[in-house]
Amino acid sequence: MILNQFLILAAVLFCIGVYGVLARRNGVLVLMSVELMLNAVNINLIAFSAYLRETAGEVFALFVITIAAAEVGVGLAIVLLIYRNLHSPDLDHVEQLKG
């Protein structure tokens, strides 16, 4: 089985996700970038799992999918709250606290 192609695809997807989280200002697009990162992980896990003939990776991927759904649910709720209070999903407007 060819493993490299899957790992390269996952690495590229992961990097696009990281770029998206850092560069996008719209809350919803940031959430989508996070999803890209998590799906890169899933590709990695399933590719390794098929290559090693070891089911643990597929089980891991199922858990990642489930928990990612819960996480994005909470994230959308928080973005919605910010939209209600600030009338914009733009995260640059969220700047009351200075790190």
Binding site: V18, L52, F63, I67, G75, I78, L81, E95
Partner: protein, 487 residues
């Protein structure tokens, strides 16, 4: 296949799950005035979960389930006991704060207990999948808790910052874990430990680095710390106390389990990274804390610095014969840190009920009109600074002992850095004490003695008792450290 259920071993987890369901249902039936009862149910559930922990501890031995993926041994029992105690004190801190506002009660305790459930599972998890699930069970409810004050933009900001950093760190950690799985062919920590002993691959170091970087966000180690001060300031203060103690220690337990049970045979996977994180947290945490004017932000940077102290034993663990004293030190330090930090936050909450301010200057003259509170606050601050006879000195002592046991140049440099930064730390802790004892209260301030609610007093008394008892008689916690390290 028989999964081999051992109901005694998972009794604490079952009790907390049942309490979550009970609180959720009970909340529907209580009228607004009866809402305090949800807190009572939640507290009783937490106390009930302590019982099986004590019986398991008396029973002794190691109980394994799911092919060794879920283990109940002294190590996990010590942390489970700690998490339940921290949850109980956090609820004592919350009850009046949540009751005073016009916010719902029931959901708060459901979320808090769900997070605690994750911590209990984390203490026993010995498998990458269950560690990941436990970590998310800890984190997801705390994202919601940080944004508890829905109409306050600051609280929203605290939640979104915490959330974004949280999910991004999980993704980085998962990417690292997927590489670990790919290289070792297993998610069980014991099997990973067998494989990394012989495997020599540069990718293994990358995998270890990414996994640890993910945990570093959770424990807010520099340079992954920048969410912490903002989230701590914006979130409701009882939630901040919970985040800075229980949630942070949850991250440390995850890190300790992965490093100790999984990566330990190959020290290149974790030691250099953790050395850097510890050194950066010690220097930056302490220096930036000096400049803070808001007590919550100061405590946020102080907790980053304390996290650096806890990371020191990690970074020297596999040098010389330092494993045992390192594990002891991490366990003892986290337990003591929990008591003194919760205590300090309890006083901040109590004072903010009067002054409605979190500025350090609002502590001015506290020693004149509320001497009891000022004495206890000074005690917690000096304990955080590591001054005997308060518990903090023993935590620092074990940390230095681990570094000296390792006895390598890297460990000695780190110990020297830790020594210098504890001196720096003394200044900002002492500044608050000076404000309380040597400054006059501001003009027109209300200087009647402060009356604090019973629950808050109870929390302060519990924390103060632990800080004094362990400071004077450190064998109390030293024994727990021995047990956890398998002594």
């Amino acid at each position: 296949m028989n999964p081999g259920w051992d109901f005694h071993a998972i009794a604490p987890v079952i009790i907390i799950t049942a309490t979550i369901v009970a609180v959720l249902i009970a909340d529907f039936f209580f009228e607004y005035r009866g809402r305090f009862r949800t807190q009572q149910i939640a507290s009783l559930g937490v106390l009930a979960a302590m019982i099986p922990i004590i019986t398991l501890a008396v029973d002794g031995g190691t109980r394994e389930m799911f092919n060794g993926g879920f283990v109940v041994d002294p190590y996990s029992l010590v942390f489970q006991g700690f998490f339940l105690a921290a949850a109980y004190i956090s609820m004592l801190l919350s009850v009046d704060y949540i009751g005073d506002g016009d916010y719902y009660q029931g959901e708060f305790y459901v979320l808090l207990l769900t997070s605690v459930l994750g911590m209990l599972v984390m203490s026993s998890a010995r498998d990458l999948i269950s560690i990941f699930v436990a970590l998310e069970t800890i984190s997801i409810p705390t994202f919601v808790l940080a944004g508890w004050r829905k109409h306050d933009p600051k609280s929203n900001e605290a939640a979104i910052k915490y959330y974004l950093i949280g999910v991004m760190s999980s993704a980085v950690m998962l990417y690292g874990m997927s590489l670990v799985f790919g290289l070792t062919g297993s998610t069980l920590l014991s099997e990973i430990a067998d494989k990394v002993r012989t495997l020599d691959s540069p990718l293994l170091i990358v995998a270890g680095f990414l996994t640890i970087a993910g945990f570093a966000f959770k424990v807010s180690a520099v340079p992954f710390h920048f969410w912490a001060p903002d989230t701590y300031e914006g979130a409701p203060t009882p939630v901040t106390a919970f985040l800075s103690v229980a949630s942070k220690v949850g991250g440390f337990v995850a890190l300790l389990s992965v490093v100790w049970f999984g990566f330990s045979p190959n020290s290149a996977m974790f030691q250099p990274v953790l050395w850097g994180l510890a050194a950066a947290s010690l220097i930056l945490g302490n220096l930036v804390a000096l400049r803070q004017t808001n007590i919550v932000r100061m405590l946020a940077y102080s907790s980053i610095a304390q996290g650096g102290f806890i990371l020191v034993p990690f970074a020297v663990a596999s040098d010389g014969g330092a494993w045992t004293s390192s594990i002891q030190s991490v366990v003892i330090y986290t337990l003591i840190y929990g008591a003194m930090n919760l205590g300090a936050f309890a006083i901040v909450i109590a004072l903010a009920r009067r002054t409605r301010s979190a500025e350090i200057t609002s502590f001015a003259g506290l020693g004149q009109y509320a001497p009891g509170m000022a004495i206890v606050m000074s005690m917690f601050l000096f304990s955080l600074a590591g001054v005997p006879p308060f518990a903090g000195w023993f935590a620092k002592f074990t940390m230095f002992r681990a570094a000296l046991d390792a006895n390598t140049p890297a460990a000695t440099v780190l110990a020297a850095l830790a020594a210098v930064s504890s001196v720096i730390a003394f200044f900002y802790y002492a500044r608050v004490a000076r404000e309380m004892w040597f400054h006059q209260p501001p003009e027109g301030a209300d200087v009647h003695p402060i009356r604090t609610p019973v629950a808050l007093n109870a929390a302060v008394v519990i924390c103060a008792a632990i800080v004094i008892a362990v400071g004077v008689y450190p064998q109390l916690f030293a024994r727990l450290g021995d047990l956890a390290a398998g002594g």
